[in-house]
Amino acid sequence: MRLSPEQFWTYSEWLFQHNGLRDGMILALALTILGFLVGYLVSVVNHGPVEGFLKVAQNIGQLFTVDIPKFSFRRVAAIAGLAFKESIRKKILVLIGIFIIAMMFAGWYLDQNADYPARLYISFVLTATNYLVIVLGFFVSCFSIPQDIKSRTIYTIVTKPVRPLELFLGRVLGFAGIGTLILLVMGLLSYVFVVRGLNHEHEVETIDANGKIGQTTLSNKHTHTFTLNEEGRGTTNEVKGHRHIVSKVGDRIVIGKKIDDLTARVPIYAKKLEFTGRDGEKNEGYNVGYMSEYQKYIEGDSLSMAVWEFDGVNKDLFKDVISYDLTISAFRTYKGDIVTPVGGIIYFRSPDEKVESERESFKVKEFQVDRRSIRTKLKGFKEGQPADLDFFKDIAPDGKFQVVIRCQDRGQYLGMAAADLYLRPADLQFWWNFVKGYISIWLQMFIVICFGVMFSTFLSGPVAMIATVAAIVLGFFGFFVDQLQASTTKGGGPIESLIRVPSQTGSQIELDLGSPALEEAIRVVDTWLLTGVAQLKNAVPNFDQLGTADFVAYGTNLFGGLLGRHLTIALGYFVLTSLVSYFFLKTREMAA
């Protein structure tokens, strides 16, 4: 799994430094203006310009003067309870049955021979749950209000002192309630499925004469080798993403429980990664071609290096050892000795570069995580002189330090991105990460329900569902708008494309209309249009970004900042859909 930098922003970084708040505000403002304009136009058609304006003003006024102040949780709870009962009556719980059947078949087909069976299992359960509850969200939310209108039961509701906001909220919470229930059951079943599916035991198959090195029996289609230390303890080697603890009990060697596959690493990422070129100049890192979109490269046997800057690392998280994981790729400009990996050196240093650890050379383990560590009591250099150092006293007294990587082999390159090196304090519990994965799914379901109920306040059931599906699918194309705006897609914006298509001007050729002023004008208008589209893009949820199954599957802690962001986004959609629904319910003739 590759984390993109924005995935490890903290919550406040996202909100303030990276414009989460600003974009949200702009979007809110744009939608408010748009909503007001559309509302006013509709009102003008029905009531004429002056009274139309008064009607709109009246409805907005009533939201704040009457409908919010007189809001009643008891009414919301009553409507939510009804929606919950209605869903149960519609036999929604059958979904759990479908899920159980899916898991039974999956048990046959999930390949124990895969390199990382845990990832496969976890991805499967999370993806299956995700799809099922999103479909559930579509179905329960889109049909309920239209059904009430069709059967006219809505007459007995809206002739009671029920306010539009309560009607919306009640539905949303009721359906979210049933979704929560189903997710809880599915989550519990999934957890048992994953843990039991991966569970296996090994015995000792062979052991050497010293009783130190041995091999385990075959279980779940793999074996391990293991080495014991003087105290009779150790671990097996890593096979299929896990190791086992090995210990000596009396004369017997016991292969114990497995570790590393169901876990939640808590990576501490650097604040930034900077590159230095071959002559010691600062640069962006070298681009070696197609694979360099994510990682940038440093050149071997030169002054080129990559420097990660860490900040605010809490020393209490580490005892004697600082563990860190490294995922580096190599790019060879010549084949050379293909068996020997490309080599690099790594060292830690203080931000003022006066204190640094001894340089440690390593061989790049491509396509896998290199689990490394450095002791907190270490040898190094203080202002050029060899010295015994204490990591948190000498190198990082205030939690700030740098990690430097260089490539040793001339003509070869090492590639890395900011997320490819992270410190790894003690892991968190897997189950908690699993729960967080489910919270993520819950948020997606909640957004679907909000949209479904919103559309159902003014569209018939099937149309509301198509609209909801369309909104979600549009969200998946959000990246395309980003690309357009960042001009990485060739052919220009909407107007330029419109000219290029009929005039058969290929996207690789400069647009030539014979008038530079006209071309510039088109570009300016396109930029404006794209900025508008980019803002509107935010109005539909991007489920691609909201999915967090990979975090759980790859054993990386789904950290609070990201979940908080998703929570905020969901809340934003909730407010948006509430308001839209309010105005539609308020201005709709229920008996028409």
């Binding site: 058609v45 004429g48 002056v50 009274e51 008064l54 009607k55 009246q58 009457v66 409908d67 007189k70 009643s72 008891r74 009414r75 709870a77 009553a78 409507i79 309870g81 009804l82 009962k85 209605e86 009556r89 059967s151 006219r152 039961t153 809505i154 007459y155 007995t156 509701i157 809206v158 002739t159 009671k160 002192p161 029920v162 306010r163 003739e589 229920m590 008996a591 028409a592």
Partner: protein, 311 residues
């Protein structure tokens, strides 16, 4: 067209003070349009009427006459195309008026998967009533509509009569001052109809105002104080039931033990003025006759209003 800024109801047409007018419609009109805004039906044409506190007001008319439209406009289920409706002096689209209204729709549109207790509890919660209050009201109402034996059964198992009764209970959950009953006796057997009518009269005696809409002319005649008769979206007749049913130009004589000769003599005597009459007053026709006559008249001379009763 009246504007949103227009002042509230004046009650000027009422003999009493404005607080005694529960519902007032002013020049109320409703045009149903299709999706493209084209006119489909002119369901209601400038209706002016009042429902006064403490009366049972009947709304009569053949199918498609605009009765249901009027009720829906009063409840805010529809918005007027022209004119306005005031309920308790508030615009009909104001949700807060619903605190004081009970509504029994045409076919008791209730949630069939709930039982009687759950239904009443649910509607009670919509009035923000506390749990104790809901429990007390539910027990009382279920007893009142005689559904004690079926309170735990889902409404989908209910007969039509039982559904009407739970519908009525639902409409009374908030002890409303104003009760709108749409066809309250449909689906009820004669006994049930009698019970319903007694109940309506009792509710009136308790001080509630009731708006009743019905095809059962006998029911209207039995319980209503005043009626409005609608046809083709127009108000045709409005007045007290007793005066509407009075036939002003006919004299009815109730006499007994008279021979043919005597009858002819009485006739003669009456012609010459004088004699002893056992009883002599204005006879009444049935509501049904009146209704049919009005419909016939209206078809012959559309747009004109009859002039039988006082307002």
């Amino acid at each position: 067209m009246a504007t949103a800024l227009e002042s509230g109801p004046s009650g000027s047409t009422s003999a009493n003070d404005p607080t005694n007018v529960i519902v007032e419609t002013r020049n109320l009109g409703k045009i149903y349009r299709d999706f493209w805004g084209r006119k489909k039906v002119h369901a209601l044409k400038s209706l002016d009427l009042e429902v006064r506190r403490g009366e049972i007001f009947g709304l009569l008319g053949p199918n498609g006459s605009g009765k249901s439209t009027t009720i829906k406009l009063m409840l805010g289920l529809l918005f007027p195309t022209s004119g306005r409706v005031f309920v308790f002096g508030k615009d009909a689209t104001d949700v807060s008026k619903n605190e004081r209204i009970g509504y029994l729709p045409e076919e008791s549109y209730l949630y069939k998967f709930l039982n009687a207790d759950e239904t009443l509890d649910f509607y009670g919660r919509l009035f923000d009533m506390s749990a104790d209050e809901r429990k007390e009201r539910t027990a009382k109402l279920i007893k009142m509509v005689k559904l004690e034996h079926a309170r735990r059964r889902q409404l989908k198992e209910y007969s039509k009569g039982m559904t009407r009764r739970i519908g009525l209970a639902q409409a009374l959950i908030n002890e409303p001052e104003f009760l709108v009953l749409d066809e309250p006796t449909t689906g009820l057997d004669p006994l049930g109809t009698r019970d319903m009518k007694d109940l309506i009269l009792r509710l009136r005696d308790e001080g509630k105002t009731i708006l009743l809409c019905s095809h059962q002319l006998a029911d209207v005649q039995d319980v209503c104080d005043r009626v409005a008769i609608l046809h083709q979206g127009e108000l045709k007749e409005l007045g007290r039931v007793d005066s509407l049913l009075k036939m002003q130009d006919i004299t009815q004589i109730h006499a007994s033990g008279l021979s043919d000769d005597a009858k002819s003599r009485i006739k003669k005597i009456i012609e010459e003025s004088g004699g002893q009459l056992e009883r002599m007053d204005n006879p009444t026709t049935t509501m049904e006759d009146l209704f049919l006559e009005i419909v016939k008249e209206s078809e012959q001379r559309p747009g004109r209003r009859g002039g039988r009763g006082e307002n």
